[in-house]
């Protein structure tokens, strides 16, 4: 990868980390609220279905995950397993797509 590409990956990871810090905090607070309030699956779904704000928030959360995780794994794979180069990046691209697909499926399942 080019020097510019490597540097931009770092910028993308930092920016997605900032987003994740916010998203994870909101997500945890929501989970704790839901559990403490004794909400069941049907009650949760009744709040999330058709809720555009909920859809928007979790779409941003998913985007941050899809950007952040593969870049972090890239360093782990090269430093711990010595796996570098195009095959590693292609595998991580496929992993990012899989994350995006699984995440979207979950989001749409709860929204639709």
């Amino acid at each position: 990868m080019s020097l510019r590409g490597e540097a931009l990956l770092w910028v993308a990871q930092r920016a997605s980390a900032a987003l994740l810090a916010l998203c994870v905090a909101v997500h945890l607070a929501t989970m704790i609220y839901a559990v403490h309030s004794g909400l069941g699956a049907a009650e949760i779904l009744s709040r999330t279905r058709g809720n555009a704000a909920w859809l928007g928030f979790y779409s941003v959360f998913l985007l941050a995950v899809v950007v952040h995780v593969p870049i972090g794994l890239r360093a782990v794979l090269s430093e711990w397993l010595g796996w570098r180069g195009g095959t590693r990046d292609a595998a991580l691209g496929a992993f990012a797509l899989a994350l995006a697909w699984l995440g979207l499926r979950a989001i749409l399942g709860v929204f639709g």
């Binding site: 990868m1 020097l3 510019r4 490597e6 540097a7 931009l8 770092w10 910028v11 360093a75 090269s78 430093e79 711990w80 570098r84």
Partner: protein, 237 residues
């Protein structure tokens, strides 16, 4: 007189620790201990030192698992129980006993463009710098490196990525990048970018914790990360 039990690495990459008994003395440094072993107990022991006063950076070793400059490390501060284990610096090839091959360490300074590149000739007058400027203060905070290799030996990223330039070379690049007389900014930014460059640092801060000169290479590397990222965003890299 009390006695220190000292285990010293013997051999090269393959080898074993050899135990010695060394008399304990007042104000004794770890380098004093190694010197006693070589002069009184086993003249075949190989180690490296020069100035003995913390200026030359040649006597760094791993003492009880931690990289240190041995000439300024008192036995009292590291061997409270009377035991010392002395090994060569980590992350460098071992030549023999406590002597490492420092070539790769210094070659990386060259790869990081660690050489000053000014625009004036010897016929020109001195350039005048404001000592209190923010840039100069950042340079002054990082300039006193003695090249001992303690930071390089303590860095996990060097252990994981053999090409990583390391804290000392990146710290040197940072001092030149912030030096207003230097003219090789673009070239230097390219040298410290990429897989082996500043963005590989995980900010573990072992270099800053162990630097005997109290320099913080982590701070310089953070500065390099920002500068390289800005250049990448502007399309200047």
């Amino acid at each position: 007189m009390s006695v220190l039990t000292v285990r010293v690495w013997r051999g090269a990459e393959q080898g074993a620790y050899q135990a010695f008994e060394v008399p304990r003395r007042a104000s004794q440094t770890v380098l004093d201990v190694v010197t006693h072993i070589q002069r009184a107990l086993d003249p075949t022991l190989a180690y490296r030192f020069a100035c003995r006063v913390g200026m030359c950076g040649s006597c760094a070793m791993t003492v009880n698992g931690v990289a240190r400059w041995t000439c300024r490390t008192h036995v009292d501060s590291v061997a409270g129980d009377g035991r010392l284990e002395i090994a060569p610096l980590a992350n460098l090839p071992v030549i023999r006993d406590l002597v490492t091959d420092m070539r790769e360490f210094f070659d990386k300074w060259a790869r990081a463009k660690g050489r000053f590149s000014g625009s004036r000739t010897r016929g020109d007058d001195f350039e005048r710098l404001a000592p209190q400027s923010a840039a100069r203060r950042e340079v002054d905070a990082a300039i006193e490196c003695i090249g001992c290799g303690v930071c390089y030996s303590s860095c996990d990223v060097v252990a994981w990525n053999a090409n990583y330039l390391g804290p000392a070379a990146l710290n040197r690049a940072w001092t030149l990048l912030r030096d207003e007389r230097d003219r090789a900014r673009a070239e230097r930014l390219r040298a410290v970018a990429g897989d082996a460059g500043c963005h590989a640092c995980h900010t573990h801060m072992s270099c800053s914790e162990r630097c005997p000169k109290r320099i913080s290479p982590t701070a310089g590397i953070a500065g390099l990360k920002r500068e390289v990222a800005r250049a990448a965003l502007r399309g200047e890299l």
